[in-house]
Amino acid sequence: MEYLEKNMSQVENGQLKLTNIYKSFGSVRALNDVSIFTEPGKIHCLLGDNGAGKSTLVNIISGVLTADSGEYLVNGKKVNFSTPKQALNAGISTVYQNLAIIPMLSIYRNFYLGNEPIKNNYFKFMDKDLAISTTKQELTKFGVTVNDVKRPAGTLSGGQRQCLAIARALYFGAKVLILDEPTSALGVKESANVLNQLVLLKEQGINIVLVSHIIDHAYDVGDLFYILKMGELAGSYDKNDVSSKLLRSILSK
């Protein structure tokens, strides 16, 4: 595993290829022979009804679940993640709607959670000054200005929390960013800001996978659309070949 992690973190591109993925929960077939390909500099949207298997697929990509069968390649190399940490080390970072940040923990402690800057190797002292100044600086890049990053992250708005999670992922070297319903709990303005940030990141060469119920949000920013239906891939469309109206009708069929 150690060797694999090292190898993965050296690769700069960030391309995912999943082929013939199967996943069942007891008698429920959550994913049935699903294949997707995602690459840097594009926004890939996973669309589908409730229970279609979107979150299951995301969880396999991010190492929370392992597929029953199928092949998972990152940058052309086969991987077999059994923890989210392994996916993180390979540059694959996931922003979950509810689990992205910890409300009771301060903003800067959230930012560095699991990646604390160490001052003294023996006692593992956290370099708080560095953590605080970096957090402020990185948040500003995403349009979030907070004077006091020592306050609990629960005092941030929903959109600011998403930005915190995205800023953190990027700062710690994410090449692939996966977002499960990032805008479903946000107002119009906040959604627009988060989506704009995603477009900027894509232009910087990040591979983005976006799960969304809101077709308009997905269509505004997406380049490729994967449609899941009852655990099966019902189609994949390039933005040039499909209108949002057509997408909507395919989904409701």
Partner: protein, 316 residues
């Protein structure tokens, strides 16, 4: 803080003037330090989202084991204490591993270990010695070394303050630095606030929790050594209800019962309040039973205040 000032003024005005004297301070600080040392472990564990109700029984077990090993097995007392420590740390580890592996509430698991440990202590003490209390440690081999560490006095202004107060402060400072300034401290807060998110961010939440069960067990052992050297012997019932008093001091100090938030300084103040109230009531000449009433009320008020805090930040 306000609570502390209130309690101090309350007993300064209504209490006997002895409350204000150095020996008054000695008396409540001794009580505070004992509860305080235990509460340090309880606080760290509670911030990580878990309880340990078995610490009181670990005190009884430690005091009995160290005494039996010293007197009956004729092992030098420091070595006996070390063996006892290993046993107690193993029990802490077992508590931890059972809680994280089963995913059951630690409240229930450690309630079980409380009864098991207390029962085994009493039963084996009866089998081995036919008694539930043992004495005569003062003349035992190595007692002096143990007493030097755990039952010493520090002279301040002509009053002999027990060394446990100093240990309380030292352990408090270590725990404070550990919790607030280190990487593991960050993991403790995160684990208690949201185990799932912490896990997703790569925090080894199981290891964090198990380690803190071990730390809590260490605190129980420490208090047991203090008590055993002070009384020169053991009692199987030693430490009874101490798990509750330590939790009370912790909650009065502002730590959330549900985990994710708390402070060592708060807990030290909580223990201080606890000691002041208990001794203050005696100084004031009131029946000591009122102490329980007072602490019960303090506990409920503290939980209410902590709940308001939690609501504010969890929902944003």
């Amino acid at each position: 803080m306000a609570g502390l000032a209130f309690v101090w003024f309350f007993f300064s005005i209504f209490g006997h003037e002895a409350f204000l004297s150095l020996s008054g301070a000695r008396s409540y600080l001794q009580v505070s330090s004992e509860i305080g040392i235990l509460a340090i472990g309880v606080t760290l564990l509670m911030i990580s989202g878990e309880f340990d109700l078995s610490i009181g029984s670990m005190i009884g077990l430690s005091s009995m084991t160290v005494t039996l090993l010293t007197i009956n097995a004729d092992i030098s007392m420091p070595l006996a204490a070390l063996i006892t420590l290993l046993i107690v740390l193993l029990l802490g580890f077992l508590n931890g591993i059972i809680v994280v592996r089963t995913g059951l509430p630690s409240f229930i698991i450690t309630l079980g270990s409380l009864f098991i440990i207390r029962g085994v202590t009493i039963a084996s003490s009866k089998i081995i010695t036919g008694r539930t209390q043992l004495g005569g440690l003062e003349t035992a081999n190595g007692y002096n070394i143990m007493a030097f560490i755990f039952n010493n006095d520090v002279q301040v202004g002509g009053v002999a303050f027990p060394i446990s107060i100093l240990w309380w402060i030292i352990l408090g400072i270590i725990a404070f630095v550990f919790l607030n300034k280190t990487q593991i401290g960050n993991w403790i807060f995160a684990t208690g606030a949201s185990k799932e998110t912490a896990e997703l961010m790569g925090v080894p939440v199981f290891k964090v929790k198990i380690s803190l069960f071990i730390v809590t067990a260490f605190c129980a052992w420490f208090i047991a050594m203090t008590q055993t050297t002070t009384y020169g012997g053991a009692d199987v019932l030693r430490g009874e209800q101490k798990e509750f008093t330590a939790i009370i001091a912790t909650v009065i100090g502002g730590t959330l019962l549900t985990g994710g938030y708390g402070s060592i300084i708060g807990t030290m103040i909580g223990a201080l309040i606890f000691g002041m109230v208990r001794q203050g009531i005696i100084f004031a000449g009131a029946d000591a039973d009122w102490f329980q009433v007072f602490m019960g009320i303090m506990l409920i008020i503290a939980v209410l205040i902590n709940g308001i805090f939690r609501k504010k930040y969890v929902t944003g």
